[in-house]
């Protein structure tokens, strides 16, 4: 039976590009928190300690910018206090409304303790921060995973991939911002960063293979849906091929042997590529998947407006990140962290 849709209403995306920015920033924030917590236990002067300033900068900037983007995605942002007036323990989004301020506070406390050079307190805060970061990764992923109406979201692989790509983004962001910090790129532990990135990239490839194998065996509805979209629509074919090519390029950048005179520009390319991979993954998961009908045929045609709830909104969030970065780097230049005091 051949079915052609003649008349359907226009269904819009309920989650705006702000959500993409939120998941991008919070993924980077939570994973940079995990990384920073790990780095905080490095010995003074070690590679881990030298990566910490950039990671703390990324953590502070993204953990402050993320909630702004999240608030903007509410169609009634002035009513956000309802989250706190009507707590709803069975809703992941409500839990997130409580977990997120805890995370932001801990992230800022961690940054403050790092700046004050209090290693023992920093390590204590690192443990709490890591637990809080895990709770953020769990809630953001579970929020999507429980939506059985969208098979592409209702899979355990989504939180896993969000976390892994988020970590890739955190590493890219650290590599990007390091050049603007007082220490610059001179002493930057690029081999350590690449090693972590290599592990993350292996994990991503492994997860993709597990997903594909489970899908081929018929145990993954999300894989089945993805295959169907790939077969039926040119736009999804393009997205997949683009992702594979982009992913291969990124793997090449992460794994290629470093030339002895690796300049700042190569680090820049790697950083931007990692950030781009993180962002594009979230764009596809949020915006492209919302164009897949729950019931109808074909794909919905959903435009992005140029204004505040579209392109300008996304650019605005990047602008906020730039502004926060400017503030943090200014503070680090003007008020450098105190010399190491006795613990």
């Amino acid at each position: 039976m051949e079915i052609i849709e003649l008349l359907t209403p226009a269904y819009e995306a309920a989650w705006l590009p702000w959500a993409v920015q939120y998941f991008f920033l919070i993924g980077i924030a939570a994973t940079s928190a995990l990384l920073a917590a790990w780095l905080a236990f490095g010995a003074p002067g070690s590679d881990r300690a030298r990566l910490l300033p950039a990671m703390v900068t990324v953590l502070v900037v993204t953990s402050v910018a993320a909630p702004v983007s999240l608030l903007a995605d509410l169609h009634q942002p002035g009513r956000f206090w309802h989250f706190y007036a009507h707590p709803t323990p069975w809703s992941w989004m409500s839990l997130g409304a409580f977990l997120l301020p805890v995370f932001v506070t801990l992230a800022l406390a961690f940054g403050g303790l790092w700046w004050l050079r209090k290693p023992a307190l920093l390590r204590a805060a690192a443990v709490l921060l890591a637990i809080s970061a895990l709770s953020i990764l769990v809630y953001t992923g579970a929020e999507l995973m429980v939506v059985r109406a969208r098979p592409l979201w209702a899979t355990v692989f989504l939180p896993i991939n969000l976390a892994l790509t988020g970590m890739l983004g955190a590493l890219g962001a650290a590599l990007l911002v390091a050049r603007w910090l007082p220490a610059g790129l001179a002493d930057f532990p690029l081999p350590l960063l690449r090693r972590v990135a290599q592990w993350v990239s292996l994990a991503l490839v492994a997860v993709a293979l597990v997903w594909a194998v489970l899908g081929a065996l018929g145990h993954s509805p999300s894989f089945g849906e993805a295959v169907q979209l790939f077969n039926d629509f040119g736009a999804w074919k393009l997205a997949l091929l683009g992702s594979v090519l982009g992913g291969a390029l990124l793997l090449a950048l992460i794994w290629r042997p470093l030339p002895a005179d690796a300049g700042a520009s190569q680090g820049l390319l790697l950083a931007l590529a990692m950030l781009a991979a993180t962002w594009v993954f979230r764009w596809i998961v949020f915006m492209a998947v919302q164009a897949v009908p729950k019931f109808g045929a074909g794909l919905y045609l959903q435009g992005i407006s140029w204004g505040g709830d579209g392109v300008l909104g996304m650019v605005g969030v990047f602008g906020l990140v730039a502004a926060l970065l400017a503030v943090v780097t200014y503070v680090l230049y003007r008020y450098p962290p105190r010399a190491a005091a006795a613990a």
Partner: protein, 261 residues
Amino acid sequence: MTTTAKTLSTTAPSTSKRGLLRALLGFGVTATGVVVAADPAEAAMDSQPPRRTGTPGKRYGMLVDIRRCIGCQACTVSCSMENLPPIGQFRTTVLQYEVDTKVPGTPPAMVSLPRLCNHCDNPPCVPVCPVQATFQRTDGVVLVDNERCVGCGYCVQACPYDARFINHETQTADKCTFCEHRLEAGLLPACVESCVGGARKIGDLNDAGSEIATLLREHKDEIKTLKPDLGTRPHVFYIGLPDEFVDGIDGQAGVRVVPGH
């Protein structure tokens, strides 16, 4: 589903660093403890909050007889006039399809599919609401308190039938309410009232003598609902729905335009 409020232990506070660290650790455990105790792993379907009071003793449902639908869209228009959603957004509408069975000599047929909120018995949209703005009543009607709704759009994502939308004017979640304001007054919903072919019927499923309960009994082998495998237990029942329409349309999309607003 309840959470127990947890408080920090009330041992005498220590002024030493160790005491501070212990207190901080306790706070951290408490913060994550709340997550563990709530067990929202089962949230969103199969874990419904308690229903709020509705018309006592009733369970509303709708029966749509596709064989009687002529695709006139009178229901779409009357619902829009009764509830005044913004132009381009619909609480109910009739989706129309051209179906070619590819049997030689048989011309393509038109299928008109009236669609609206199914007021499911296990609604996936209710448990996800972070502020409990959307709720289900004891009579089965699922509603949105649009003074509490923050417009987060989570319920719109969770609905497997694309029945919900964010109203452009109120910027809150919106959907068919079974015209509960009319039902309360003893009237029929606007779409049922205006249906030219008599395809839409509404009534109390708990009343064995009601028209809808009688029809459901008579046609019990032909009754279908949309996406039954999801376990939402929709309460909009269809007679004459082709099997190819039950789990979603596998077909060619019509001409679409980018919605402008």
